[in-house]
């Protein structure tokens, strides 16, 4: 949606409403390849209840999904499949890297493993951990919700979070 430079009161309210609606109706595509899937299932089940955030409805078709959850190690053989799934999703779409293998490759550094899915597609939220606790997943999901809300209020994707200075030294 293209936004005018100085949106009026009505359109800005409308976009806030659209962002609010979008962030509470996340249709996710779980691309589950490895052991992180167990933690993903734990998050999805009633104890942690991902449905509280409106994300309890996995769609197993990329054309019906908003968020691509990449859960587990991605090998070079699997990478073109994942890229194709991502290309098949309709805009607006978001990508969550679930687990440290999808974020950076994790403890794999070998001939077979992709060293982080951000080498082949843009990633919105990284959830590290081996595997991440369900609390971390929910935290990542809330960060994604904030991002979705902010995106449609301003009309463009917000810049990535700035790393604290202490981590850069």
């Amino acid at each position: 949606m293209n936004m005018p430079k100085n949106p009026s009161f009505l359109t800005s309210r409308l976009n806030e409403a659209i962002g609010w609606a979008r962030k509470y109706s996340i249709f996710q595509y779980p691309f589950v390849t490895a052991c992180c899937g167990m933690e993903y299932m734990a998050t999805a089940c009633s104890h942690y209840d991902v449905d509280r955030f409106g994300a309890g409805f996995p769609r197993f078709s990329p054309r019906q999904a908003d968020v691509l959850f990449v859960v587990g190690t991605i090998s070079h053989k699997m990478a073109p499949v994942l890229k194709r799934i991502h290309d098949q999703m309709a805009e607006p779409k978001w990508v969550v890297a679930f687990g440290v293998c999808t974020c950076t490759g994790g403890f794999y550094d070998n001939y077979a493993t992709v060293m982080g899915i951000d080498t082949i597609m843009p990633v919105d939220v990284y959830i590290p951990g081996c595997p991440p606790r369900p609390e971390m997943v929910l935290d990542g999901l809330m960060k994604l919700q904030n991002k979705i809300q902010a995106q449609h209020t301003t009309g463009e994707r917000p810049a990535s979070e700035v790393r604290p200075a202490i981590l850069e030294s």
């Binding site: 070079h76 053989k77 990478a79 890229k83 550094d109 001939y111 992709v114 982080g116 080498t119």
Partner: protein, 201 residues
């Protein structure tokens, strides 16, 4: 049939086929000449006293760096802590390679009927040009006897580049078509990356 009588029965039936054997702590192992593999395997499967009807595992070993001191640079990029080379003995530790050959293909058999196990080791020579590849193959395929050997032999081909004579469809199974080299060989560069898409990371 216990371990030593298993070995004895094969040795008596095929004199000259068994290069070496041991039955230490309950695992009967025979090092076999490659040209006898099919005959011995058929005997193991079809003899009523043996009935090795289950091929549990089929894999291979690359002995090219066995017992040698690793170069310090080998693990330098991976962050793996390395023993000082003074602590690593020069001579091969027991049991050592079965042969002077570079590779060995290892078969594990089990008999559902008699509950006994046997391990066969077949040394595979490296060709003079430094390869063991090729459509002809260096080892006889066991797919006619145990259909389950099909994918296991494809995996050995994929990871080690050892060809199997008579295999119906010998192609890569874990790596993709177009992958160069065989990654479990000891001379495959530890840092070599060949992704299908994306940057070389």
């Amino acid at each position: 049939m216990n371990n030593s009588s298993l070995i004895e029965s094969v040795t008596a039936r095929f004199p000259g086929a068994v290069k070496a054997s041991h039955a230490w702590r309950g695992d009967a192992t025979m090092v076999l000449r490659g040209e006898f593999l099919l005959e011995v395997a058929r005997y193991l499967k079809e003899d009523p006293a043996l009935q090795m009807n289950f091929l549990m595992d089929l894999s291979a070993v690359d002995y090219s760096t066995f017992g040698k001191k690793p170069a310090p640079a080998f693990f330098a990029s991976s962050g793996v802590a390395l023993k000082p080379s003074s602590q690593i003995p020069d001579e091969d530790p027991w049991p050592g390679p079965p042969d002077r050959s570079r590779f060995a293909v290892v078969y594990h058999f089990f008999s559902m009927a008699h509950k006994h196990r046997l391990r066969l080791v077949v040394p595979v020579e490296e060709a003079p040009d430094g390869t063991v590849e090729g459509t002809v193959g260096r080892v006889d395929s066991l797919t006619d006897l145990w259909p389950g050997a099909n994918w296991l032999e494809r995996e050995v081909w994929d990871m080690f580049g050892i060809g199997f004579r008579g295999h119906p469809d010998l192609k890569r199974i874990l790596m993709y078509e177009g992958f160069e080299g065989h990654p479990l060989r000891k001379d495959y560069p530890v840092n070599k990356r060949q992704p299908l898409i994306g940057p070389v990371n």
